[in-house]
Symmetry: C3
Subunit: 364 residues, 3 copies
């Protein structure tokens, strides 16, 4: 019987290096018939494992590896003490080989006896619905989709084929999730946006009437929250990857293939372009437009729209505390300091003429 | 049968502009008998929709709207190509009209067969308890309250009338929730405060014995966490609105009608006044006192008590990465820079006297 | 019958001050036979309560306390109007006395009828499994452990003796949790790390094949997320305390007895030493090594490895908004300002020689 909650992949395949090279477009420098059956780190590998070198951080570990083979770039081939699988993009080749050697379990179709499914909900025969799942009226679960234990699906929700909600995911009414998505535990999609109108010292709730549209091939990390739109939909386009504890406010649009690292967030109505890379802890204020191919480094605070692709930064690195405090104290006087410099420069211009005068006198 | 998980409001009413104007105190500039049945954005509206102009960001869209009517301020009436519903507070008027046109579903009283309710818990007959809900001993659920699917309610908890816990909310023992609250999925109320006493390189847990008191009309966003007090209670007063992923530590008090945007937080024992506005990502250290009517802008770090109402800021906006790095490098030398300026000024004072001397010489 | 969800401790013991002094190594300055039965704050205590003075913040409340006794340091004994329990570490003594007076409920062994437990999972007879819990194949729950309502435990998970998962905790496949851990609601352990290889404008998922190892005596706050390792395990060592909404990325190691306050996080592969203190909202980038006994103050951004124990800071305190904006605007010109100061200094060196020349002239 299948597993009601997912986890690391227990199964692994045995395959020759020759087959890996052929299947994943690598050039093999070594014996074609060596059999491997798992991936490992350079330092942790032994003779049945294939490893990789993608991050220069680990280059020093190459010389001592006992892996059967290492996936690497041409430039490192000469330094590899074992077989090489040479690739122009070793990290992507590794990702594909790792997925091939350690395939995810198939979804075994089943609806758990403890699931509560509305009479008019439609669950594909090939789908899997775990224990204690709740699925609301008029919702649809596609082929081979998995709704993990304890998940709550509202009304009029659509979960397309091959998507997996691992466990304890909440998808509220009117949300659409595309195909092949992977949604981690604790995710909430379709909570109300944070909208209140101020009226004489109190707040009038602005009804949040829109939905959420999630594209295909989206991954959403644990405990991330995505609010429904105020009137129209919040949109996460195809191929977007959101890490853990990310906040997507109402009416936001995240462009295709954009990645947002943990604890980042976008405030209401901000539109993020395609292929952007948003570092951990980055926050964007509301109503911004960020063009395609923008990268924000770790912990930046984005307060203006960005119309030029490129890299943008915004955090001050921690420092030894006493030095930090001295500099931070000076920051509070920075405007005054700049004014003092300007005053000096004014005098300086006088001094320059004095200098000239004095030199003239001396030259006399 | 009612819906076991909530979502956007499917129902809408049909109503004339005349009735809206009368009911919500707007001045109607247009035909009283035009019928509308939904709200829409200025650009998305058609002839059965009422729209609004509250944020100047959208002013340019007014000229082309095809809405039946637009809720707006007097100053924009002349520019409106369709009927106007003139209000001194168009956003609040919009909020009320939207709620009127799209009323939330009524709670249909029911206790789901899969709920686990302690024998001595008291659930009002008009309340709704969803699938897989757990309610502990001596807890009370008030009239027309809704405890959504998968929620866990501890012992001695009180949820007052008309409050809605949407789904997968956890309320631990001894917590009191007021009336008409709206609590989003993933919220945890009553987790232990983070209290440990250091003792010879290890930590002794400080028992967290207090509770949490949540006032009336409070809204709490998805995956927000509110810790119980150490000895006395953590308190969220009436009308407070907390966004998603907010952290409220033990013994904190949040004053009435204060709003805290996503990813903000208050550390232990900090007291926040009434009607404060806490921007996204703002954090406050422990043991602060913030007076009423304070606004902290986006991502501020609050390290001192605030005794004067007003606006306080504290984040540096992201910049083009190279420029950011140059400036950030200078920040590490800021104290030294200030000392250099002071040294120049000292010399400058000499120079001033030199200048005077030289001028005197020249005037000789 | 036992409680299916935990909360504050209802029970309290009655005990004499003499017994407390003897049991917890305090020196009693007062009547040995006074009976106390609860702890309280200095200001909230009455005659059956023991209070404490550990934080100088509360010193002013000592004079007016009506507690039966106050736990305090020798230096405050003379100022105490009631009995004193003198300790060299009053906060730790308080923590132990509070736990003694308000013991947590015993776990009453039981497996709730609504739990779904795999046939080959092993649950100790002395353990407690709450309503709607799911436990996957080959998992083990140790003696007196508690798996609270709505928790989801994957396959091949091990939860050691006396650990308590309060409610709605998710522990995915292959995770090991040590003894005496306390895990708060909404925690997710074993979600996939955020690993993707870029390949022609799209992302290839890097399979996350490692597990998570949690040591003994670890506490994990509400809605905190801990990702599984990419190949090897993410590790949380013994005695670590994580607050709410903390993010631990794949391959991170958190050293023994380190504490991380709310909303802090460590990015992939970072290794944090033992006995570190990580303030609220602190984030560390990936691949860092932080040595033992490092403290990062509130909201620091850590971008470099730290090899020297000590205190490191990194946040700028919020300021009155207009002043903040002026200083922040100057920050954008800081590099230019430093260059201007350097230019002045260059001229200054000329000026110095002028000054010397002028003085020589005057001395002539």
């Amino acid at each position: 019987m299948g597993n009601d909650v997912p986890g690391p992949r227990e199964l692994s395949r045995s395959v020759t290096l020759g087959e890996l090279a052929a299947r994943f477009g690598c050039e093999l420098d070594g014996a074609t018939d060596t059999v491997v059956k798992r991936v490992a780190t350079l330092s942790g590998a032994d003779a049945d494992a294939v490893s990789f070198l993608a991050n220069p951080h680990f280059r020093s570990q190459l010389a001592d590896t006992r892996a059967a083979a290492v996936i690497l770039e041409e430039q490192h081939r000469a330094d590899c003490p074992v077989a090489s699988l040479v690739s122009t993009n070793p990290y992507a080749a590794y990702a594909r080989i790792a997925a091939f050697l350690h395939p995810p379990c198939d979804i075994e179709p089943a609806v758990h006896a403890t699931a509560t499914i509305a009479a008019d909900a439609i669950v594909a025969e090939s789908a899997r619905v775990g224990p204690n799942v709740v699925i609301g009226p008029a919702s649809v679960v596609g082929d081979r989709a998995m709704i993990g234990a304890g998940s709550v699906i509202g009304a009029n929700v659509s979960i397309a084929a091959d998507s997996r909600l691992l466990a304890r995911v909440t998808v509220l009414d009117g949300v659409t999730v595309g195909a092949r998505c992977l949604i981690h535990p604790g995710v909430v999609i379709g909570s109300d946006g944070f909208g209140f109108a101020e009226d004489e010292d109190a707040w009038v709730k602005v009804p949040q009437l829109g939905g959420v549209t999630i594209g295909d091939d989206v991954e959403i990390g644990a405990n991330t929250t995505i609010d429904r739109g105020t009137i129209e939909n919040t949109v996460i386009e195809d191929g977007v990857k959101l890490d853990n504890l990310v906040q997507i406010a109402h009416n936001v649009r995240v462009g295709a293939h954009t990645v947002m690292a943990a604890m980042s967030g976008a405030a209401g109505s901000t539109k993020i372009g395609r292929r952007c890379k948003v570092g951990g802890g980055v926050v964007m204020i509301n109503h911004l437009e960020i063009c395609d191919d923008v990268m924000f480094t770790f912990r930046s605070v984005v307060t203006k729209s960005v119309r030029t692709p490129g890299v943008y930064g915004g955090s001050l690195p921690a420092d030894e505390a006493q030095r930090w405090r001295r500099n931070a104290a000076r920051f509070r006087q920075l405007d005054a300091l700049a004014e003092r410099v300007r005053a000096i420069e004014k005098i300086g211009r006088h001094t320059e003429s004095i200098k000239k005068t004095t030199q003239d006198q001396n030259n006399d």
